[in-house]
Each structure stands twice: as structure tokens, then as C-alpha cells.
């Protein structure tokens, strides 16, 4: 039997591997541009990154960003994307996009949704209409949006839940993956990723890993984590997954995270991350710096004429001081934009620097990661 034809619009080149941990530096080639991994992907839910123009985002070093299918499917809607030719064209973003399936809202809006084998029924908060999101519908909308990476619709349960529901969700996610693969019309330009589920149960995770890796998908995501579970359970599931998943395909750890999580999970072999944390915390006046966080509202910043980070080359650090930012933070809208630009650039470069070369990662832990106490048993 001949090898399955590779339709994927993605290639992963492993440039270097850490000799101590499972970290690796890769080059991920996607339809719109190349991405250096490990990569942090900022979240632009509704086709925009909270006040940042696509040009500013490009200048901050971002190579791939997220859009949310649930929101975009409601506004402006799939029909409009078909008319304009996709979200890239609509928002003027030349690099890569990743859309999630819309399934995460199942966890966050659980009171308004009902899950059956058919799909997820939402009561749409925008217009109070009922919407049924099936695997087919999710893929159809994502095909219209046109992102370089699209996610399967998965049955997500909160990581704090245990019992038979977790196994049900895991099994259903496998069946929904097959339906998504079947429904996916644009395999040459869009990469469909599978999402490993199974909660915090290693037996269930292993079953899911076994089954999903049999499907010929271009990449895998580790889902159902980063939902408030104990960190000790969290990393165990991550490392279990990366042990199993093929090395030549990218691993996307969804919903992660804080800088310390990026370091740990890169060490555990993950390549891609997304989180609202840096952009959200920017809007509250907090900047990310090598030693942790800088609260610009604090009085100590009032006469501090240094930039947020002296080693940062973002447009905010090149032009503005902590003192200036202190006067406008939480008062002027532009403050949240300036901090967002910094936090995105900081987090994107931080993530990339976690793996410099074969030996770089361990050195990195010694220097930049110095404030973090990590005990990892791999």
C-alpha cells in the first residue's frame, strides 16, 4: 500500500534540539509566511487585536495570530468572508492566521449551550437566535474565514471535571475529528489540526493520542488543559502527549500562557502557544518584563525615565518612558495600545528565545529563566 498523499500546506523543519530537555527550535512553513517556533500567538478574537493595526502587529514580530470562529461566524459572518475572500483580505493581515473551532465557548458559555452527538447548540447572545455548531458547520465557517491553520471541533470539558463525561468527550472528539476531516474542503491552503482530549486521565489521553495520530493531519493540539487545574496534573498531561506525538509535526498547546508556562512547556516539547494574558494584562496597565511584571500604575514609576525594558526594541520602549506611561495608564486609551504592543513583542520574542540552539535552552534557563524554580522529572 502506498504512503498517504500529503496534502498538507505545512512543513516543519526541526533546526535544533535541546540535549537535555525535549525543547526544539523549528521553522514552520505555512501558506502566508514562515513561523519560527516555539511561537507565541496573540489572540485577536473579532478580526482585530484590541486597537493594534496590522502594520503595528507585523512590526512587533508577530508571525501568526488567532481569530475566533464563534465570534467571526456571527459578525461579520461566513457569507461576507466568501465575498471578500477571507479574513486575511478583510483585515489586511499578510502573515498567518489560526482559527479555533468555536468549541471553547462550550466551556466558557456552558449555561447557554447543549452538547449532543450532532453538535453544540448555542443560544447566540448577539441576537438570541439558536445556532447549531456541528463539526461540518465549524469547518465550513473556518473554510470561509480562510485561516492557515484551522482546528477541529472538539467536545471540550472543563479540566476540573472528572467522571464518565470526560471519556464521553474524548470519544466524541475522535468521531468529530473524522467528520471534520471529511468536511474540510481546502486542504491545499488550510491545515486542519486535531485536538487531543482526555482530561487529566492518562489512560484516556493515551487512547486519544493513539487514535488521533492514526489520522493523517498536519498537526496536533493538546486541548482541554489550562482551565484552572493543578499545575502538577497539567504538565504531566503535556509531557505524556509530547512523548507520544510525532516529532515531525507541530504541537500546539492551547490556552498557554504565562511566561513561566511557556518556558516549561517548551522544555516539554511544545511548539505553539496562544493566550489572552499579555494583551489582557496590558489593558490593565501591566507590562511584561524579564523579572516578571511591571505595574505602571504604581507610584514608583512616576519619576522613572527608563523604558519598560531597556533591552526591548518595540516601538513603545523606543519612544516612551515608564514615567510617561504612568501618567496615562488606565486614563487614556492609547496607554493600553502602547502596552499591548510591548507585551506582544515581549512575549513573542521571549517564546522564540526559549530555544536558541541545541544547548541554548538549558543555558537560557540559567540566565533569563533565573527567577523560576523548576523541577521537572522527564
Amino acid at each position: 500500500m502506498s504512503a498517504p498523499v500529503n496534502h498538507s500546506a505545512l512543513t516543519l523543519k526541526v533546526l535544533a534540539e535541546c540535549s537535555v530537555t525535549k525543547a526544539r527550535a523549528c521553522q514552520l512553513s505555512l501558506p502566508h509566511s514562515v513561523v519560527d517556533t516555539p511561537v507565541f500567538m496573540p489572540v485577536g478574537t473579532q478580526g482585530s487585536l484590541k486597537g493594534i493595526t496590522p502594520e503595528q502587529l507585523e512590526n512587533s514580530g508577530c508571525q501568526i495570530m488567532l481569530g475566533n470562529t464563534y465570534h467571526l461566524g456571527s459578525n461579520p459572518g461566513a457569507e461576507l468572508f466568501d465575498k471578500v475572500g477571507g479574513l486575511h483580505k478583510f483585515m489586511g493581515w499578510k502573515r498567518n492566521l489560526l482559527t479555533d473551532s468555536g468549541g471553547f465557548q462550550m466551556v466558557s458559555l456552558v449555561a447557554l449551550s447543549e452538547v449532543t452527538e450532532e453538535g453544540v447548540r448555542f443560544s447566540n447572545p448577539y441576537d438570541a437566535k439558536d445556532m447549531l455548531l456541528t463539526p461540518e458547520k465549524s469547518i465550513e465557517i473556518q473554510n470561509s474565514i480562510g485561516a492557515d491553520i484551522i482546528m477541529q471541533l472538539d467536545d471540550v470539558v472543563s479540566s476540573t471535571i472528572s467522571g464518565p463525561r470526560v471519556e464521553e468527550a474524548m470519544g466524541r472528539s475522535i468521531r468529530w475529528l473524522d467528520r471534520c476531516i471529511e468536511a474540510h474542503k481546502k486542504t491545499k491552503t488550510q491545515n486542519l489540526f486535531a485536538i487531543i482530549q482526555g482530561g487529566l486521565d492518562s489512560r484516556l489521553r493515551t487512547i486519544c493520542l493513539n487514535e488521533m495520530s492514526k489520522r493523517n493531519v498536519p498537526g496536533f493540539a493538546i486541548g482541554g488543559l489550562s482551565g484552572g487545574e493543578d499545575k502538577n496534573d497539567f504538565w504531566k498531561m503535556v509531557t505524556l502527549s509530547t512523548d507520544f506525538l510525532p516529532k515531525h509535526k507541530p504541537r500546539y498547546l492551547m490556552g498557554v500562557g504565562f511566561p513561566v508556562d511557556l518556558v516549561v512547556c517548551s522544555a516539554l516539547g511544545c511548539d505553539m502557544f496562544d493566550c489572552v494574558y499579555p494583551t489582557r494584562t496590558a489593558r490593565f496597565g501591566t507590562a511584561l518584563i524579564p523579572t516578571g511584571k511591571l505595574d505602571l500604575k504604581k507610584k514608583g514609576c512616576a519619576e522613572d525615565f527608563r523604558p519598560i525594558d531597556e533591552n526591548c526594541s518595540c516601538s513603545t520602549c523606543r519612544q516612551f518612558t515608564r514615567a510617561y506611561l504612568h501618567t496615562i495608564v488606565t486614563k487614556e486609551t492609547v496607554a493600553s495600545i502602547l502596552l499591548t504592543i510591548h507585551n506582544i513583542q515581549y512575549q513573542v520574542f521571549f517564546c522564540r528565545l526559549t530555544v536558541i540552539d541545541t544547548c541554548g535552552f538549558y543555558l537560557f534557563l540559567g540566565t533569563r529563566g533565573g527567577n523560576i524554580n523548576i523541577i521537572i522529572i522527564i
Binding site: Q46, G47, S48, L49, K50, G51, I52, T53, P54, E55, H71, N75, P76, L80, K83, V84, F90, M91, G92, T333, S336, I337
Partner: protein, 276 residues
């Protein structure tokens, strides 16, 4: 004055008393004139002594409420002082966010005229406040030199784009007016177009065809409509970029018209195409 010394501005306005109110008493108007002149003299003394403010210009303020004689007095007296320019105070509506400063109201035009009659030709005159294009032209005709961007800002705040014709090269949305007025009862006037209108949902043209601003060269009406529709911050950013550009372009056009001697033609064009 110590604040001015700390800021080191290129030009600054001397402290003044502008609280004469829209319909103030003569007595109050007179007080504001006297007080302002007294403040000005004290500021001028400090200005003279100040090493730091050597390269900054001090402007005097014309007060007097709506009383013509007080205005004339204020103008005459301020003009005697060694100021670099004049700020015509107390004519702003200070009203609701969507207000425009109409010069044809409450005899404002006449008051401005009476002020300017007393001021030297070679020093700049500033009129603050949200003035729409017709009012700007009226003010320019009277002799005002400097305006601010309040109007452009207020247009942005209500999710609208400035779309009035600034040159033969840019296609005005006025040609779409017929359709728009049918579908959009919120159509304020023909200077601006509200991007909340559903008619723009799949309109992939720039805000103003031919405009070279960042928004018009990179984005579409449909995208801006989407952003304001879902409350995304970028919507207002893109609108402000356009509105400021468009507004500044208008001033370039005014300067050109004055140089070419076609100012009246410009006034007629704005009046016929854009005023109700």
C-alpha cells in the same frame, strides 16, 4: 507661569478669565476683560524675566462675553501688549459632544468681526472649538488663522468618517446621499458618514475613494463597519487617522484657494454640496 516653564512650549496662552457665560451680564463681561488684562500683565512680566521661556511665544486672550463694547475694549487693550498672537475666548459652545460652533448664531460673526478690527494684521488669531467646514470657511473669511481638531475628534467619537469633498481628486460620498438618506435616518449632515450603517457591510472601497491616509490605503468601509459594529478599539483608531488626515487636507485646500484666489468658489462648493 511655573507650569509653562516646566512644559517649555513653543507657544502658550496667558491665564485668562473666560467665564462670562453665553448670556452674561455686562458687569460680568467687563470683569472678565479687566481680570484677563491684569493676569496678562503679570504673565508678561514673568515671561520677560524667564530664561526658560525665551523661545516660547505668549498669546493674549480676548474676553468680553457677548457684549460688543467689552470685546472691543479687550481687543484694543490686549493689542497694546507685546503678545505674539491672540486667542478669541468664550465663543465655544461648551455644549453637548455633538455640538458644532455655529458662527451665525447669537451674532457671533459680528462679535468676531469687531474683535478682529482691533487686532494687528501681522499677528495670528486662534479660534478654538468644533467648527464644521462651512463655519471654518466663515471664520477664515473674517480673519482667523488657527483652529483646532475638536470637530474631527467629535466625528470620530460618533463612529463617523469625514467624507466631504476636499478636492476634485477625491470622490465625495455625497453622490451616494440619496440612497443613504433613505436607509439611514441618523444621517447628520453631508460632511460625514456614519460607519455604523449596515449599507457598508460588504462595501470594500476605502472610506473616501482617492484618500491617501493610512486607513484608506490599507482598509475598507466593510472592515471599519465591522470594527465599530462589534465595538473593537481599532475602529475608532482607523476613523481618527482618516478624519485627522481629511481635516488637515481641507486646510491645505483652503490655503491653496487663498493663494489662487478661488476662496469664494470653495465656499460655494461647500455650501451647495454639503449644507442643508
Amino acid at each position: 507661569m511655573s507650569v509653562q516653564e516646566a512644559f517649555k512650549p513653543d507657544w502658550y496662552q496667558a491665564l485668562c478669565d473666560s467665564d462670562a457665560g453665553k448670556v452674561g451680564s455686562r458687569k460680568r463681561a467687563h470683569k472678565s476683560v479687566e481680570r484677563t488684562l491684569a493676569y496678562l500683565d503679570r504673565c508678561l512680566e514673568k515671561h520677560k524675566e524667564s530664561e526658560v521661556l525665551r523661545h516660547s511665544c505668549i498669546f493674549g486672550s480676548i474676553e468680553g462675553g457677548s457684549v460688543a463694547e467689552e470685546r472691543e475694549l479687550s481687543a484694543k487693550e490686549t493689542a497694546k501688549r507685546p503678545v505674539a498672537g491672540f486667542v478669541l475666548e468664550g465663543l465655544d459652545t461648551n455644549g453637548p459632544l455633538d455640538s458644532v460652533l455655529p458662527l451665525c448664531e447669537n451674532g457671533k460673526k459680528e462679535i468676531i468681526q469687531s474683535i478682529l478690527n482691533e487686532l494687528p494684521d501681522e499677528k495670528p488669531r486662534i479660534l478654538h472649538g468644533p467648527l464644521d467646514p462651512a463655519n471654518i470657511l466663515a471664520a477664515v473669511e473674517l480673519g482667523i488663522d488657527i483652529f483646532d481638531s475638536t470637530y474631527a475628534f467629535l466625528v470620530t467619537e460618533r463612529n463617523a468618517a469625514l467624507t466631504f469633498c476636499v478636492s476634485p481628486d477625491t470622490e465625495s460620498m455625497a453622490s451616494n446621499v440619496g440612497k443613504l438618506q433613505d436607509s439611514c435616518n441618523l444621517q447628520r449632515n453631508l460632511y460625514e458618514t456614519s460607519l455604523t450603517d449596515k449599507i457598508f457591510k460588504d462595501d470594500f472601497r476605502p472610506l473616501v475613494v482617492g484618500c491617501q491616509c493610512y486607513t484608506c490605503t490599507n482598509h475598507t468601509r466593510a472592515y471599519v463597519h465591522h470594527l465599530v459594529n462589534v465595538g473593537e478599539l481599532l475602529g475608532k483608531t482607523l476613523l481618527m487617522l482618516h478624519n485627522l488626515y481629511h481635516f488637515l487636507r481641507f486646510f491645505e485646500v483652503i490655503q491653496l484657494a487663498l493663494e489662487e484666489g478661488t476662496f469664494e468658489k470653495l465656499q460655494n462648493m461647500i455650501a451647495t454640496r454639503h449644507c442643508n
